[in-house]
Amino acid sequence: MLPFSFEWVWDMGHLLFHGGLWFALNVIGIGVTYCVVKAVYDTMKGNSTNHH
């Protein structure tokens, strides 16, 4: 899973597969982090946004 493990091989299979996976995980992770951080910031500022 990580390039530091013994089994990791730098070949197309690993690059595509794990590349895709890490990309997706990063999108999700960054997206969620962004939302949480922004929510903290918004809350601190006290502006309660309205839905929809």
């Binding site: 899973m1 597969f17 939302c35 903290v40 918004d42 006290g46 839905h51």
Partner: protein
Amino acid sequence: MDSALIPQGVNRCPLWKFALGIAIVGAVLMWGVYAMMLVWIKGLNQTNMNDAYGFALWIWADLSVIALGGGAFFTGFLRYVIGINDLKNIINYAVIIGFICYSSAQLILGLDVGQPLRGWFIFWHANVHSMLTEVAFCLTAYFGVLCVEYVPLLLENRQLDRVPFFHNLSHNLHEIMAVFAATGAFLSFFHQGSLGGVSGVLFARPFGFREGVFVWPWTFFLYTWSAAACGPCFTILITKITEKVTKKKLVKDNVIQILAKIAGWMLATYMVAKIIDTIYWATVTAPSKGFDLMTFYSNNPLYGIWILILELVVCGIVPAAILITPKWRGNPRGLTLAMILAVIGVCLNRWVMILQVLAIPVLPFENWALYMPSWQEIATTILPVCYGIILIMISYRYLPVFPQEKELNPIAG
């Protein structure tokens, strides 16, 4: 306390009734939990699986549930990426159903492996050539997406929404939901496909094997396609059942019709592909391995040719025809029938592609392997159904799942 949690402007049944319902379903759930503990403590000898039937009821349940949960990604894709705005009125429910389906799948997978404590090896020591690795990765990642999609709905609970942080968080998540939906669609495309690949790559199992397109077998695309077609059908079916149970109209017909129409065209095109695939497989792939089509369907008490006809015609062509014909689709009974058939069809397809693959003897001197699930397997397969019902009951009661509910069911006085 209870009434404080119920969304504003809607009616819910009295608490005792709700509690009774939870208790009844919960009792069945506990039976499943008991069976689950038996399996975890005593091992897979509690099942009726054997060395010929390494994959059985559970894997079927897994594949079916994921196919049926496909409504979440496809509806999300249509709503957020394609931009079909009407679908916002059903997307919440699609997400909940998807969430239930995917969490159930994870639970069943956790049961189905011989060494659950080492289950994480699939991530840590991943073999990138294995379809199962791809399934595990995408499934888990997509489950994460579903959580992200479910969380804002949770936070819209009346009490939670009062907390500014949660309110803001929910808002922010909504803002960039398209990103998650797109990621989810990407992940779903791959894991639905990989599930198809699970039997499609088995080049030594002529019944399951399909010739490849690039590195993927045909079934890779067929599975994604069929999940996109039948997942929404399941979403609609569950919505209809919920409406029946609650005796309320919850989603407007035009929303249902749009989704049904899209599902119908997906199903129709899927059937074209599936029939081409079947013909190619029956006339080229299987004979090249020495198998007449009928050897797959004879000399055993269960798998007759009827199963192929049932899957392709009764549960494939028929619902597709109903759904793409506006008149039939507009008829409530026609719609329900098509939904039921499509759901059966996709489950049957998963059954055949997993269990029949294993049942057919490949060595000429072996016999058909047939199996009956043990009660532990059945109980643990019913377990997620109960869990799903409970989660739907709670979500429906306390969350504003259906945006159109208030409008469709104004509270008198």
